[in-house]
């Protein structure tokens, strides 16, 4: 006789950084169905952006939607508003913005790898990656003045210039980080006990990836060619050495591999940006009030982030629509849970790198 057992996970759990509640319907060890409750972090940012804040302040408010991809949120919003204000930025501003976004991607991917390994029961590796990650955090603090919330991008430019000492610090810390990433690469590919937790678990096929509109590292691990850096021309990504990275398999192992390879590529891109930084002013003049409707898309560490901004020639915007990566990834996430073992649930969950504060806004 088959009997389903309901097992709740969350909203407060040691393996969860953020409140999300799952209810797993299990048959013995196997998960048959999942209910997810994602609304714990809903604060009402969309409403507040369109009623309480002026359009110049909204950039700082939307950065607080998510601490991990704060810079991509403010970048997405700024790009959309700049389209409405008909401002075009010079090459130096574009390069500095790309620099911060890539640094953010490095630290976010490292946090995700650390979290995955912790949830697979490998706490020493978690501590090691978190220690290596501090190198990037130091760079971010030196560049923007804060470790997490950068507040680096403002409408029309960036708030701070890259000084010579900061550029030297970037290159030095990247050189220190490079061998450690190589070591991590070896650990994630060759370690037998990690492969037991990662290989073939939580797999997503290419058909499923197409069907559920997955995005970011999750889709690229399944072999789906999608990356907003490839699909938009707002930034000269090809000039600084961007190439799309895809893997086959779609399991946790492939996702980790995508993240590791993107880490290496982002480091190379940061180096290219710092070395080939063009001259120019860091702030362009803006005037007027936003009018019309614009869509801006940015590649956040977790996938595609979209901002739709509509203004009506007043300083308060009419609508700000935020589409975050995890939000569109949840149907695929629920699909992957079905049929896998309950003991693998924390590792699968961490391999998605879910960001609930993005999802619920």
């Amino acid at each position: 006789m088959k009997k389903t057992v309901e097992i709740p996970l969350g909203s407060q759990h040691i393996s969860l950084l953020e409140p999300i509640r799952f209810r797993f319907h299990c048959e013995n060890e196997v998960i048959r169905d999942v209910d997810a409750d994602v609304g714990f972090v809903h604060r009402g940012v969309e409403e507040a952006c369109a009623s309480r804040f002026e359009f110049k302040q909204v950039g700082y408010v939307v950065a607080r939607v998510c601490g991990l991809c704060a810079i991509t949120h403010s970048l997405g919003y700024t790009l959309a508003v700049e389209k409405l204000l008909h401002v075009s930025t010079n090459e130096r501003i574009k390069y500095l913005r790309m620099l911060m976004v890539e640094l953010d991607r490095i630290h976010s991917h490292m946090l995700c790898l650390a979290h995955t390994s912790e949830n697979a029961g490998f706490e020493a590796l978690f501590m090691q990656i978190m220690n290596d990650r501090e190198l990037i955090m130091d760079v971010q603090e030196a560049l923007s003045g804060n470790r997490v919330q950068f507040d680096y991008i403002s409408i029309g430019g960036v708030n701070r210039d890259l000084s010579v000492e900061a550029a030297a610090l970037v290159l030095r810390n990247l050189a220190l980080l490079e061998p450690k990433i190589d070591e991590l690469f070896e650990r994630f590919t060759n370690n037998w006990s990690l492969s037991l937790k990662y290989r073939g678990i939580g797999a997503l096929s290419l058909e499923q990836a197409y069907m559920y509109n997955t995005l970011g590292p999750l889709a690229r691990a399944a072999g789906l060619v999608t990356d907003v850096r490839l699909e938009t021309d707002d930034f000269p990504y090809a000039q600084v050495g961007f190439e799309i990275i895809t893997e086959r398999g779609g399991d946790i192992y492939a996702r980790n591999l995508v993240r590791l390879r993107e880490l290496k590529q982002s480091m190379q891109m940061v180096r290219n940006i710092v070395e080939g930084l063009p001259e120019g002013a860091i702030q362009e003049k803006t005037k007027g009030k936003p009018e019309g409707e614009a869509i801006a898309r940015v590649e956040a560490p977790r996938g595609e982030l979209m901002y739709l901004v509509r203004g009506n020639k007043t300083s308060i915007l009419e609508r700000v629509r935020i589409k975050t990566p995890t939000f569109s990834g949840i149907p695929a996430m629920i699909e992957i849970f079905k049929g896998s073992n309950f003991a693998d649930a924390p590792a699968i969950l961490a391999s998605f790198d879910p960001c609930m504060s993005c999802t619920a806004k």
Binding site: N213, E231, S328, I330, P331
Partner: protein, 115 residues
């Protein structure tokens, strides 16, 4: 962006004829208050791996009608539909309330008339 106007009757057929799972990527469903107690809905699509402006299907209708759902061929649309139902107080086929909001919180925060 390329805007295509649709009506309440042919919205599902138009999107179904346009949408190709292997090429198109459903971004999101956006909603907006329109004058005279109407609501404006936008289904936004892009293509995988190609530089292209997003394609937007626009529908303007009354707030109290039942809006058809596209989840039968785009399963990932369920989240944005549930969010729209919560935030604007409209009804969409098959979308439950209560994704973000509880019974004791402010209902349909974005669908209210702004003073």
């Amino acid at each position: 962006m390329n805007k295509i106007d649709v009506s309440l009757e042919n919205v599902v057929e138009t999107i179904k004829a346009f949408y190709d799972p292997a090429a198109h990527h459903f971004l999101t469903l956006n909603a907006l208050r329109a004058p005279e107690d109407q609501i404006e809905l936008e289904w936004i699509f892009t293509r995988y791996g190609v530089i292209e402006e997003p394609t937007v299907f626009t529908l303007t209708c009354k707030r109290d009608v039942l809006i058809p759902s596209v989840t039968s061929f785009i399963p990932s649309a369920i989240m944005s539909e549930r969010e729209t139902v919560d935030m604007f107080g409209v009804s969409i086929e098959g979308a439950k309330r209560g994704l973000y909001l509880d019974d004791d919180s402010l209902q349909m925060p974005l669908g209210r008339c702004r003073v």
